[in-house]
Subunit: 291 residues, 2 copies
């Protein structure tokens, strides 16, 4: 199975490296060419002139981009090189509509599409332990499973095309709520003058234990917000979640609250920080409090 | 070290059993005497006629009760039997003021007090893996550590008397937020028609992973809300958190939102269910939505 990779960002780059380690990666393409050349220098894989060329020389192309319009543009560029039997696996977080549109266009040339967004942070991407939520044909999933195994500790088939994105939306709602929970609780702990390292360790070991606290608790409370997962990107994901909920006539309280906080952070110039920067907003509560 | 235990509820009973297994438990007392007699029948430990008698025959008395006024009543009843060198370790979740008041009254007879609330659910209590947040004198903590080791996988000294309760309040804020996160996300997943078992497994393996999802996700989505941790008790804890935040002139958004939901659940007769019953409120969003 010859694999190509498009989108060498914070998540894509370590994923491409893991496909290389598994002996599956033959070529890459990236909008900013220097990123692709750096990886090529490191691994010896080819840098394609354009996505179409990459598609022609690969059985499976992975994509990892930021938003609906990026996926649509990559599909445009891939199409001339795709043919019957080609597969595109999109690991981006986009709307269900964007995934279905991509699948429909690929079907026109006999190519297959899976939406396979993932969760687990840059750490999971690096370690090949991402959780992967897959939408699309179960047979296609089985065909590309060896490649997914190089990236993921847990692969779950969620249903037809779009179901992977639906599950990812659920995941992003949960991440928003947990960010709210951890940042609010730790800002409270700081105001109470508690020893933060011990609070983080102890709460991690009990019923409040969670990945985000274990992986971001120490950095956020020491004022370090390097991504990680950018506020602006999670904000984009949550607007997708909002739209999906609105189709049910529902407003999700945790999503709405987090969108307000993320808008403030973006307005203040913190959009490129890790989402744990929500701690800044919670600290403000206590700074402006009237003690 | 001869240990007595008062308060054989959902958490206290398995904790007392673990102290018995460690060869430390000599006697128990419980407001509802039948509970104490059941444990005595099982373990051979004595049932004290009253807390004072228990205090007289023990070096250390553990208490595990529900609220400030319960702790005050138990301290009243213990005092006649306490003397210099006695220690009371209160594992209840109460206000910092209640902990400080208990410590002050014990100091009057030369006895020591630790506030040592814990987290980890009934599972943690059963398995002896509770996370314990301790306030009080560090020397007293070292003296009773062998007993705490029988209950806890992680013991952290947070500061003077009251600091354990402060850390627990932080923990309870986090638990509230995580409950919001998990219940909102899973109600969303249900509305989207996703395979719930796979959603729970996969989100557990990624950046949204958390204890509550792993331990309550499957039961809550199948409509089972046996405690666990009762809504009414977490509501009581969150009112303590609210009061503490108000001392800073601060209203904590996650706490306020959860108190609204818990009030509704209690009014509807669900106060004795596990806190994962918050799922009922989130499901209502989609049931009353206008899809």
């Amino acid at each position: 199975m010859d694999i190509g990779f498009i989108g060498l960002g914070a998540m894509g780059l370590p994923m491409a490296r893991n496909l290389h380690k598994a002996g599956l990666l033959v070529g890459v393409w990236n909008r900013t060419r220097s990123q692709a050349e750096a990886l090529a220098g490191e691994t010896g894989v080819a840098v394609a002139a354009d996505p179409g060329e990459l598609a022609r020389r690969c059985d499976v192309v992975f994509t990892c981009v930021s938003a609906d319009e990026d996926l649509a543009a990559v599909i445009d560029a891939l199409l001339p090189g795709l043919s019957a039997g080609s597969t595109v696996v999109d690991t981006s977080t986009v709307s269900q509509a964007a995934a279905r549109d991509a699948a429909r266009r690929l079907a026109g040339v006999g190519a297959d599409f899976l939406d396979a967004p993932m969760s687990g942070g840059v750490e999971g991407a690096r370690q090949g332990t991402l959780a992967m939520m897959v939408g699309g044909d179960a047979g296609v999933l089985e065909r590309v499973r060896p490649a997914l195994d190089a990236l993921s500790g847990r692969i779950a088939h969620m249903g037809p095309v779009g179901a992977g994105q639906a599950a990812k939306a659920v995941n992003q709602v949960m991440v928003a709520g947990i960010n709210q929970a951890v940042s609010e609780a730790l800002a409270f702990a700081e105001a109470l003058g508690l020893p933060m390292d011990r609070v983080i360790e102890t709460t991690s070991a009990g019923a409040a234990g969670n990945w985000f606290l274990s992986h971001r608790g120490a950095t956020m409370t020491s004022g370090h917000f390097e991504p990680g997962f950018k506020v602006a990107l999670h904000r984009k994901d949550l607007t997708i979640c909002r739209d999906m909920a609105q189709a049910y006539g529902v407003s999700l309280p945790m999503v709405e609250m987090t969108l307000v906080h993320y808008r403030r952070l973006c307005d203040a110039g913190y959009g490129d920080e890790d989402i744990s920067a929500l701690f800044r907003e919670k600290q403000k509560l206590f700074k402006t409090g009237s003690k």
